[in-house]
Symmetry: C2
Amino acid sequence: MTDDPAAEARHAEKMQRIQAARRDMMAGKTGEKGLLIVHTGPGKGKSTAAFGMAVRAMGHGMKVGIVQFVKGAMTTGERAIFDAFPDLVSFCPMGEGFTWDTQDRARDIAVARTAWDEVRRMIADPAIAMVIADELNIVLRYGYLPVEEVVAAVMDRAPMKHVVVTGRNAPQPLIDAADLVTEMTQVKHPFRGGIKAQAGIEF
Amino acid sequence: MTDDPAAEARHAEKMQRIQAARRDMMAGKTGEKGLLIVHTGPGKGKSTAAFGMAVRAMGHGMKVGIVQFVKGAMTTGERAIFDAFPDLVSFCPMGEGFTWDTQDRARDIAVARTAWDEVRRMIADPAIAMVIADELNIVLRYGYLPVEEVVAAVMDRAPMKHVVVTGRNAPQPLIDAADLVTEMTQVKHPFRGGIKAQAGIEF
């Protein structure tokens, strides 16, 4: 877009400075550890990004365990792909639906407990490199599981185990314990324009 | 967690009200259209969520085209999984690296143009249901492509074609044109704690 040699030179010089600064920054990053990752906030992409991380890990031959605390119809797409890699991913849709659909608090609590037991089993399994507790935050928000118990169990994992927790309203003790927290914020949403949930987008 | 029948009943009643409100809300959502989706913001998960959407769409047998405007080493994980579905996904890593690494503005512009031509080809291809322009926002930010040209081409797509654009600093005209915009905000990042990029997490 420019044929100005002086501008090109200034650009190259600026980029050299950025590159040097990045190299300095990255040189100090030498540690490895299993991360506790939280995707929260009211926006979209929390579970989708977690499933994307699952794909990334699977591509490295790492085994991934996924427990869904809230079962919707919203996972048929990923499910079909994950099913092609049975040795790399265990997918457990434990929840029975959104809590406003079940309307049975005692049953919701029992289901949350069963799902949580599965997460703990996966965290304890040395063959599983990454455990995704999808929508666990919703269950914590409703008080169906004690936050302290969940945080303690996650913090007690093996050093290289990655744990990913999704759902809006992540409790503060979980955020405090996490290594990486991303908040997804909704800037614009098509439901507002009368568009329904569509295959490949929402499910 | 409670044996109080009155509390159980209040919970069930509250959930019935939430369910009814949700049904009312969703009943008005009957439209279908190809969406322009933008993942922006300084946080992680922008590309990862886009690749997660690719997996979701592929699971429905929808074909996905992905063009990466900035090639890093950061895609080996997804790549290995995508390569197992050559009929469902075309993956084009067109960029040559971060612009602070190439230090050659003229070449960066030429590469951006080539990548953009590929996006336009995919948008025009009726067999492709979803086009992901990964890190296109970075290229727009640097002025390597005219924003107006990009927005016009994206808006001119077939009615059911989904386009996903990622990268921080999405330009306002693209946000204005989009159906769904999510901003990823960084709440906490492990690089600050001296942890390096790890397989299955960053790449």
